[in-house]
């Protein structure tokens, strides 16, 4: 009750200040009137009574002031007053205001922008309801000591899990791929996701119109169905709701449209065009093809650990049959669920954290610089403070004023930073690296606003406190008249110089390490040459179009001949996948004759099916032996090529590999090694080149009796020509392909250089931002060091003048200041070295080819920062020595 009354009075006095003032006036007026009445009654004249009453009251204004004080209006009043005063004072120093607000704006803006990215990508929940319960279902495998943390599921595992797992609300498996749509204008290749019925419901959102897949859609033999994504529906059908029930021809088979996804539905880290039902044959579910990504929604309250336990139980029950049990044992299969968010964001977190740290350091530098400016200003206002203190201003009042001024600076800087961050992010979203996950979701939000506010308040507090400590506290407020600066009084500024040099050193080392990594990546021989000359195009020949596998390879061969005949083409070939293409990262286990014993799991190898001529088109050198020929393909010879590192690992030397035999799995037919190709960095330039087996394209006889022969239906053509990427060339390619079959769509039409550049995108993104941070740090440090020393010189001008007048050598005076600068810079450099060494480990995940403690980078950064800082100290020192004593002393 009392609290309420107090609150009521306070709020009233805050909000209704005018009214409260009027009430106070009236209350006092009533009092005076009463008093006059009383005096008149006791015989005084009205005039006398009024005089008397007012005199008794004392100063009316002072009384009112006391009443206001009693009500606690004073603080707000004073703050408003301080703010108005502070703004006026700041506006009188526009250069100072501009410099500080600009520096803070850039510092806070950069931090807010990168924080928004970090917040969106790593912290904000996925855009699905209850997204915490969403998990990716994976297994941990160990093959010959090599650990695979995220092995996908096999059809057999899917069936086992669907039947007996008890921890999932929804569960399903999916794969991504491409599908061809025909019958609606030009044939078009779409990005598709093939999913079982449990996948889409797991996301927790209903279909926009229509329905998700049902058990029937998943059953082989029932009419094929398709779900369109909102974007494709809008693009192709103009958002027509009557589309449900209609059919579209996908891979030359009519599919009935049963639903449309909600707008902007992101599927894990993909934005597909269509969803197709995953249909496993009922009879034989392969236990050992681990190609299906599992996704599940956990039942409420179930933890990932519990789910892993339950799944381990399911696998155990599934391993009833001898073959499956043996496989599980050999692979040491263990369930390894993880939050779905991890699948979406990948490993981008390390880059973002490093950038956040770097920009945080830049903000610290900005604060140090601003603090220095504020200190200098506070110093030059010493006299003003002294006068005000003499007139009776309490030290807390002056301190408060300094704080309020700092707050104004911080808030103005923060506002500018917010604007910069807002526009910076819009540029990032439209131009940012496509490899940055959740790019489209990135925006400034309430959290980012709070972050920007915290940044500006934190910075204000930092440099405000510096100003207060410097000149606001009681014994510091003294007459500035005649006082020269002792070394002690400059301690704050010296500390700032040391901090700036140290922090700038750290940032220079970080950007230096990234630059060196980038150069190292660029220097990698990727196993292919001139990617800008390699034109790629992916072509799929669906079963519905050409059922006969033998004719598929015939068509592919024909296309290749036509492409090779295009003028300017030096070589051409095709493969199941080209280097750096994200598809086909799955490996297979490959046994080496005489090296792998029958009861152990052979090591996992990357593999590709390649045509004759592909290695030449790619620019991959043959180290030993010979290449595939069309004779090998057409006669279905059991031959293979291997990569150099695999040859060395298995047989010691590439030449030894020729004629040796390998086989797929533990029971496939033996295949002869024809040749050895140089290593190809197929997983990205920063990843080691995977040991690879190259099989030939064309017919592959079934590994079990009763199955039909297989063929690669989707292949990427690589066409080497200096004309690659030009429009005319692309038209000629399309003509050549459509001359063979007019209904084949062309997908992934690009040069390998585009892919190459994309694989460098993350490193270059980090490079650009860290480079900017490093450059900013260097500039800020130079400005800061110069500012402090120039100020120190200016402060000691009188002292220097006296010395010079008494006969000191200008050289000695100069040396005095240079020495001071040198000492501060060296302390800063040593601190920075220690700091950089300690922090460098956090950047190691971004580095390639160099160690975090790379001596060259450290030495170069050290030389750069110390040289820059020395130059910044030399200029003021020279100025000090060139002071004209007479002039200075006279003007004092």
């Amino acid at each position: 009750m009392r609290m309420w009354n107090v609150l009521k009075t306070r709020i009233r006095s805050l909000l209704l200040r005018k009214r409260a003032e009027m009430e106070l006036d009236e209350e006092l007026r009533v009092h005076i009137e009463r008093e006059i009445e009383r005096k008149v009654k006791s015989g005084a004249s009205t005039e006398d009574a009024r005089c008397e009453a007012e005199r008794e009251f004392g100063g009316l204004e002072r009384l009112k002031e006391e009443c206001r004080d009693a009500r606690g209006w004073q603080l707000l009043d004073a703050l408003m007053q301080d703010a108005r005063y502070g703004l006026r004072v700041l506006l009188r120093a526009p250069a100072f205001l501009f410099a500080v607000v600009l520096m803070l704006g850039i510092g806070i803006g950069a931090n807010t922008a990168i924080f928004s990215v970090l917040n969106t990508v790593l912290i904000r929940p996925l855009p699905y309801p209850g997204s915490d319960a969403l998990v990716g279902v994976f297994n941990r495998f160990v093959i010959q000591g090599q650990v695979f943390e995220d092995a996908a599921l096999s059809p057999g595992m899917y069936a086992a899990c669907k039947d007996s797992a008890s921890v999932f609300e929804n569960f399903g498996v999916w794969t991504s791929g491409a599908a061809t749509v025909t019958g609606m204008g030009d044939p078009e290749q779409l990005m598709s996701v093939t999913a079982t019925e449990g996948v889409l419901p797991a996301l927790g959102v209903p279909a926009y119109i229509g329905r998700w897949f049902s058990n029937e859609d998943d059953t082989a033999g029932s009419p094929p169905t398709v779900i369109l994504t909102y974007g494709y529906w809008q693009r192709k059908f103009g958002g027509d709701r009557g589309v449900l029930g209609r059919t579209i021809v996908i891979d030359f088979v009519p599919h009935q449209i049963i639903g449309v996804t909600p707008r902007d539905l992101q599927f894990v880290n993909l934005f597909p065009d269509i969803f197709l039902p995953q249909r496993f044959p009922k009879s034989s579910l392969r236990p050992d093809v681990f190609s299906y990504n599992g996704i599940a929604r956990l039942k409420p309250g179930v933890t990932i650990a519990q789910a892993n336990q339950d799944l381990a139980r399911v696998w155990k029950a599934w391993g009833e049959t001898e073959a499956v049990r043996k496989m599980l044992e050999m692979l040491a299969v263990e369930p390894n669920l993880r939050p779905l968010k991890k699948d979406v964001t990948g490993d981008v977190g390390s880059v973002l954290r490093v950038l956040m740290g770097a920009l945080g350091l830049v903000l610290l530098l900005v604060c140090a610089n601003v603090a220095n400016l504020v200190l200098v200003r506070a110093q030059s206002r010493q006299q003003e403070f002294a006068i005000r203190a003499a007139l009776g201003a309490g030290w807390e009042r002056i301190a408060r004023e300094l704080m309020v001024e700092s707050l104004i600076l911080g808030i103005l800087g923060g506002a500018l930073g917010w604007v910069l961050a807002y526009f910076g992010l819009r540029v990032l979203v439209t131009r940012g690296p496509a490899t940055l996950p959740r790019l489209a979701e990135i925006s400034t939000d309430g959290t980012a606003l709070a972050f920007a506010l915290a940044c500006s308040l934190g910075s204000s507090l930092l440099f405000g406190l510096a100003a207060v400590l410097r000149s606001g506290i009681p014994n510091r407020i003294e007459s500035a008249r005649g006082a020269t600066q002792g070394a002690k009084q400059l301690r704050a500024q010296n500390a700032l110089v040391v901090t700036q040099v140290a922090v700038a050193f750290v940032l220079l080392v970080a950007s230096g390490l990234i630059i060196r990594s980038f150069l190292a990546v660029r220097a990698v021989t990727p196993g292919f040459t001139h990617p800008e000359w390699i034109q790629t195009v992916r072509i799929s020949i669906p079963e519905a179009l050409t059922p006969d596998p033998e004719r598929v390879i015939g068509t592919q061969h024909e296309i290749l001949s036509k492409l090779s005949a295009i003028p300017g083409v030096t070589s051409a070939g095709f493969a199941s996948g080209l280097p750096l293409e994200s598809e086909n990262r799955n490996g297979i286990v490959v046994a080496v004759e005489g090296k792998t014993s029958a009861d152990q799991m052979p090591p996992n190898r990357a593999f590709k099916n390649i045509s004759p001529g592909l290695l030449a088109a790619q620019g991959t050198r043959l180290v030993a032996g010979r290449n595939f020929t069309w004779d090998d393909v057409l006669r279905q010879r059991l031959v293979a090529l291997v990569s150099e590192n695999m040859a060395r690992e298995s047989w010691g030397d590439p030449a030894n590999a020729l004629g040796k035999r390998i086989r797929m799995g533990r029971d496939g037919p033996w295949i002869e090694v024809l040749g050895v190709a140089e290593n190809v960095y197929a997983d990205g330039l920063t990843q080691p080149a995977p040991p690879t087996v190259y099989f030939r394209v064309g017919l592959v006889q079934p590994d079990r009796p009763g199955r039909s022969a297989g063929v690669r239906r989707s292949v990427t053509f690589a066409i080497r020509s200096e004309r690659a990427g030009t429009e005319v060339f692309l038209r000629e390619i399309a003509t050549a392909i459509h001359a063979v079959n007019a209904s084949l769509p062309l997908a992934k039409v690009r040069t390998l250089n585009d892919v190459y550049r994309q694989s460098l995108a993350r490193t270059s993104f980090a490079l650009i931002l860290l480079g900017i941070a490093g450059a900013m740090a260097l500039t800020l440090a130079i400005v800061g060091v110069y500012g402090v020393l120039a100020y120190a010189v200016a402060q000691r001008r009188r002292e220097v003048s006296i010395r010079l007048a008494l006969g000191a050598e200008p050289r000695v005076v100069k040396w005095f200041f240079v020495r001071k600068g040198l000492m501060l810079n060296c302390i800063g450099g040593i601190l920075g070295l220690a700091l950089a060494g300690a922090l460098s480990r956090s950047i190691s995940s971004l580095l390639f080819g160099i160690k975090p403690l790379d001596p060259l980078t450290y030495i170069a950064s050290g030389v750069l920062i110390v040289t820059a800082a020395m130059a910044a100290s030399y200029v003021p020192a020279r100025k000090a020595a060139s002071v004209d004593p007479m002039e200075t002393l006279r003007s004092e």
Binding site: R2, M3, N5, V6, T9, E26, V30, R34, L63
Partner: protein, 114 residues
């Protein structure tokens, strides 16, 4: 205002609370009432009365309300809140202790001189 009627700091609050406890009244009346009851021994300075009233209100011990006075004019009436009543009891006890203590120390001398 002579020295011997000047109020000990803190006692003014007590007097105001006690006076208002009888019935709600406005500032002038509070001053008059204190003067009358104390038979002119205590005279409240206007200069301290109003700040004290506002302070007490700010502390939540009294509350104010505009009302019509005896001669139909508006005036701001102060009344005691529940917290104010408790505070009055506390202050009264404190004052009694203080004054009896002071009296004991001063002893006979005061009696003789008065």
């Amino acid at each position: 205002m002579s020295d011997d009627t000047d109020l000990l700091s803190g006692t003014l609050d007590l007097l105001i609370l006690q006076t208002i406890a009888l019935e709600p009244m406005h500032g002038w009346a509070v001053a008059q009432r204190i003067q009358v009851i104390s038979r002119d021994l205590l005279k409240v300075q206007q200069g301290s009365l109003y700040p004290a009233l506002h302070r007490l209100e700010n502390q939540g011990w009294i509350q104010s309300e505009w009302g019509a006075s005896d001669n139909k004019r508006r005036a701001k009436y102060y009344s005691l809140t529940r917290a104010g009543k408790k505070q009055l009891a506390k202050e009264t006890l404190k004052w009694q202790r203080l004054s009896s203590g002071v009296n004991l120390v001063l002893g006979q001398r005061v009696l003789v001189r008065s």
